[in-house]
Symmetry: D4
Subunit: 254 residues, 8 copies
């Protein structure tokens, strides 16, 4: 439904190259494939720069397999998130090349062999328990062609642990901060860097963390400029945004 496409279509109609009914049909049916239970946005790789990603919860194994069947038809990179082990087993029987990250619970295929973008995304976590979310972010950014470096367990209660990674913070193009409990790490990192910080609150913690509400509020209220926030435990979202930022606006000139 891009204006350019619409213009060409109208031109074809005007030139008599395409009957009106056909034009109308094309406008209606081009951009996605309808599997009944899902509408695959196959146009998405063009429009948004990356194919559709499968969020597994709430889908049956059959539905996931059906969607994968279509997505793999394009030979592009494939990413399924929050996949339970039995989902991976079904997938691996059909696509033995599929990889499973047990921490992140991601399934990937056709990942690029090498990073396709310069620089790196830095990924820092407050604690060891934030790793599953961090790994989801890492897998996402990597399959989108980016280099990721990690600093795990760098909580602010031992601020020197973080400060000694100062160089890595300073040199990063984008930073993802993954933290539960009080989530203060984002503010400290945000104050040390001049680049955008994507903050991911996690549900790690207990009591008054209220399943991640505490770090979510902390991160939204950060006194450091340059920080934006994604949903609790949304490692995928953070990795995706970081990739878009690292890819840079200059790519649009092509």
């Amino acid at each position: 439904m891009d204006a350019e496409n619409l213009k060409q279509l109208l031109e074809s109609v005007r030139a008599g190259k395409m009957p009106v009914a056909d034009a109308l049909e094309r406008i209606k049916h081009l951009p996605f494939e309808d599997l009944g239970y899902a509408k695959l946005d196959s146009h998405r790789a063009l429009r948004c720069g990356f194919p559709e990603v499968i969020f597994c919860p709430g889908k049956t194994v059959d539905q996931i397999m059906g969607i994968l069947e279509r997505l793999t038809a394009h030979n592009g990179p494939v990413l399924a998130t929050r996949a339970e082990p039995h989902v991976y087993e079904a997938v691996a029987r059909r696509w033995p090349e599929a990889e499973y990250n047990t921490f992140a619970r991601t399934i990937t295929f056709n990942a690029p062999a090498q990073p396709r973008h310069d620089g790196y995304i830095l990924l820092a976590t407050g604690g060891t328990s934030d790793m599953p979310v961090a790994e989801e972010a890492k897998v996402t950014a990597e399959i989108m062609g980016h280099r990721v470096r990690t600093i795990y367990d760098a909580g602010v209660a031992g601020i020197h642990r973080l400060l000694q990674s100062h160089d890595e913070i300073f040199e990063a193009n984008v930073i993802i901060v993954v933290a539960g409990m009080e989530g203060a790490l984002a503010s400290v990192v945000g104050g040390l860097s001049s680049r955008p910080v994507i903050a991911v609150p996690t549900s790690v913690g207990y009591g008054a963390s209220f399943s991640g509400l505490a770090p979510l509020l902390t991160m939204l209220n950060s006194c450091a400029a340059g920080i934006s926030v994604v949903n609790i435990d949304n490692g995928f979202g953070a990795g995706y945004i970081a990739a878009l930022i690292n890819q840079g606006p200059t790519k649009r000139k092509e």
Copy 2:
């Protein structure tokens, strides 16, 4: 209702020095004076180490004056918190020596001329706007006989500002951290000190700070051990607790 007092009273009764009815009366009426609208716990200075403090909101000027009249009868230090200027004016007409801290909105008299305790309490704030709450804590700790040092506007987004006060943090006997917005300062300070940290969330901020809920949750979830929390904007409470801690348990041996 102290066991020791009860024992002496029982002894007097047994010895026939005091009739039963009198004993019963004394037990009933000793510890406070009833002004009708307020019960002054005049026994409190003995029991808790400091006279009653007047929390002004919800009390009329006449009620406040009535309470002060009784409290000043003992010549001890007097502290009234959250006093509006017109309350101070009424007080100052009767007790010209009363002092008013316009930031903290406290009224004080008979403050000790010199600190009576060794060492100092450190008071750090995240931002300039946290000053009213911090000053309330400072006035409270000072009237209780403690020395207070301050580091204002040391938010974690410019962590080097805080780190350069490292010596003062390290040497303090107790630390009060006052912070709004995301309240992350408490965790960073907690990680730098081996002494107790009293964290005071403030209602400074907007939007998702939800009037101080965000820093309150942050501080409760701190990954640094040694941090306990008081109510939002409760500078008085923090100053009071810090004073009790700095005064030390050894005083109980006297």
Copy 3:
């Protein structure tokens, strides 16, 4: 406290060019100026790419003037946010060149005459009432040297209004979406663009919007990848992040 600076300092000490005491002093006092009520992070322009910004609420006019006095010493761009008209009046008496945006309540000086970065940031709002927040974002991005285009009142209930700006959405380097009430605009825009979207929930609305909680949750839960969120009504934060993204990682190679 940058590793490079520390290294040079150590070299100078080793070379006998600088006495130890001096070195220690320099490390302690370089990065900020302490006004008592505020610690001005004058090093920030170097570290983070833009000078400190003054958030006016909770500061007295005298404090604001004191901070401006120092900041203007460097002739860099100056931005004060959420300034009430009487603050502007005081500022304009001293710096007649200061400009006031009555919608955004910002005070600016020394803004760059021309955008210094290619491309543009697109700013879309759900309704007319979201303009104050949107203007704060616009002023912020512009003073940081970026070009901003706006689409005001493009709420999803009349989706065709938005779709007809499809070209502008497609060409933008970064997009800021400002929306109150249900905040659904971010998801729709996110699905149309391949670039990062910064979503700003606003407190516009009533009842179950709970002062912006509703659009905040909407935006955090967006099913469109590429969206990150800032605090309710935080136009400044969104403008700042968008500027960092538009400036691009390639600048770091210089």
Copy 4:
């Protein structure tokens, strides 16, 4: 307790056709049958246009069977919602004609063979995972005699998927929108249709969806007029209301 019935009863009494005690008894006992653990509102089909529906959670299989026994005595359509498979098994042993929808977890009998009302109800979902709630709505509207069309997985992040169903949206008599996560679909559909939209938030999502609170607030705050909301995951309620609307007010003239 319908005025008309009361009037007839009074007439009978006045005419001496019915003794007072009998009249009183009839008024007391007519409208429902008391099973001890449940009061079956057998009058409901007359008063509200559809027999009672059994909400299974919190009822034992014996209680459910007992209620069904009475309801089936009237040969009307029967609907039980949120029935676990073991409930269905017990029911199917007694009424082999009972049907079970495994997505919706509904048990139905005596459904009308053909729709009895003109036009159709459109049912749209944001994602594949919203299907169980959508199917509950579908089963409900169908057993009440309505035709239902569905558009599944039409989330706003790929707005073109929805727009290409424009005709179906435009022609529908009523629309049910079922969506979790941010729930923005209701607003977009509401803006495209001139007919009432019933919005059903679902508990699909994680983190800051807070078990459906996020889409609930989104839908309540919709900037599109014509949208009303039912409880989280309440597919039954939405189907029921849509049926009432589609049946139209003109039926009352009969």
Copy 5:
């Protein structure tokens, strides 16, 4: 962007009656007028059956006057909601025929002289204090051409007051229930009627009503089928939906 219009446009292009550039322009500019601060959806009367309604909060008097200027160009009915008296004064100077409902704070013009739809919408409130919200609903439904009957102050604590309006409840085509505090009226009315009930929680109450949260939750959890809910205090929304329902689906056949 209606499929029918698009088809005709394509036909004109194909027939050579309209140049491509013109067609593109028309598609882009037809449906709304852009006032800069607002995009007037002038196509809305066609698409949704009623012209745009002005929600006044957050708009300046000048903006409201500018929007009215355009809307009145079509001579259709005009409705502005939540208008403060000074807004009405400005409007009345320009359009002396404008009417102001002081309870509802609505401004109306060009209202239809007679109801254009059969039957009536019943409007019931729990208490006297719910009248402003109820009147907003009433004004809205009336300007859309519907007859409205009211039962004010029929709270469930005196259930006989409500029951004696049984006939009016039974005969209504749609019912709007407006109630604050505990909001139980909707469930009772819902159980008495076989027609759709639109429930409007109000912010009337104190303490644990939490500004309308209590009746909102009550209404969402209603055990009576047939009830859907709009935002707290949203009288306009309820009136609008009730009008759509009363107008009936059969109108779509025209």
Copy 6:
């Protein structure tokens, strides 16, 4: 709609003493008077033992005067709550005998000269600032004919103040506890008494009291049996319930 009345009515109809139409009319119109903006439940004194009470917020002075005009026609006791001073002034002009309690903001007339019930209701508050709510409870119970004793400012932080009122607690027939901040007084009193305790949380406090939510939750979770809770600041409700309890079930035997 009392069964006894209905029976007599039916008897009259059967006996031919009353035409059916008349009977129907009487059933419809007896129990209340409809003022348009309010339905006065004049039958309430019979049904519930006390005439209707006027809750003033959200009503105009004219509406309040209109309601009072009807209520005073019966010469029973009159109570209006949350009346602002200007309401009282209007009332006092018409009924000079009306009394105003400035703390409680109640207007009363025709109060009984003497308590009509044995024993007393004890009213205890946590602090001086809880007095307005407590006075509302006191005025309510007194106008209903009960004796009330008060213990003001008996917060649990000075537990001896409360314990010395042990006799008054032990002898009371019912106890009302009014407390803000943490609301712990109810549990302590509940543990000391064998009679029902009505707990009233107040909005006194700040920060994490969240306008009375904290004491509300405290009281609902009390580990002492025998405590039930009313809405925040609902002194009227507490006084009313305490009066019903003190009046005792034996009255029903009359």
Copy 7:
């Protein structure tokens, strides 16, 4: 610590009948037995009119057995609430006379053979699923010597079901209303009765009932006077309070 006991003790001391040390010991040790993990308040039957009740969750079977061993030493009625079946099995092995109510999960012994109080407590529930909570209330009131009548499944959506129990409502000394979902039953019953109503919200429901928050708020905001509320699912508390009320204040004269 009852004043009367203290007085007698003092008399004994004065009369030389009891040495001071003994008196002190008695005051310290009389009122409870300390099992280490629990302090049994054996004095409670005297002070509060009923022995301690065992709330089982969080206690081991051994602890429960240990407490029962002591409580049964007094031959008074015994009540244990929220006991899982395996707890009952252990108890029944030692006290074969113990009874288990599988709905309420209560264990009882030594219940009075006959009600010891006149009149009855009425117990009404909104739905069948509220039975477990209602049964807990029933068992509690019965073991305290009261007669209980029940009306189950009388939700307000079929208001006639409730109205036909009008006589039973009118004659009851106290009413307990147990309801989940929207909890509106309490208000309707409260309006029909002149006696105190104890409302018990239940966690029955889903979605926006938020585990009982919805009916809790409904009940707290009831527009019917005479209603007080206990914790969600707290059938025990409601039964206990109803018993205290039904027992009546006149008992205190004994």
Copy 8:
């Protein structure tokens, strides 16, 4: 990063005793050991007075064993909290001297044989069910070298149980109060003591305790001065802070 250490390092460099590169390395690598998944802050015992404590949830057994391997290298006391039994089993195989507290779920080694500090910490709980949290606090304070006394099951509903421990309360250096449900115990204890009270809300309770939110708010709003609060169920934090307070500020003079 302690100023003193930095000064010495600079001196060594200046004196030519240490090359610049070495100095830089030492600053970077001294304070912690990086295990990849965790950064062990081995400097912590010096900086904060106690070695790192392992919070087990979210860590694999392998990670826990790896961390313990390093921590035990220093022969200091070791504490692991919230350890499930299978974690203990793995630990006990490697370190047979490890002890497991089944209530607290703590693993400890190398605990000091005797308390190293004078006086004692008093630990009071509201009920038997609060024991697991209390035991965690006890184990923590003991391994840090403090004497702990306990008063279990001293809830405020039987206030005499608490008052008879008056002497122990009065003599304690610090008090930890652990309470769920309404959490009122902290206020009562706070009023009886002149020493700091650390309040720990627990998730014990049901319904409106909202998993510990109720006692958390109660404790934050305490009207007793001297109370600070830690996270829900955070026994470790409370024990740690109490230990720091009991250790006293005078230790810093050494």
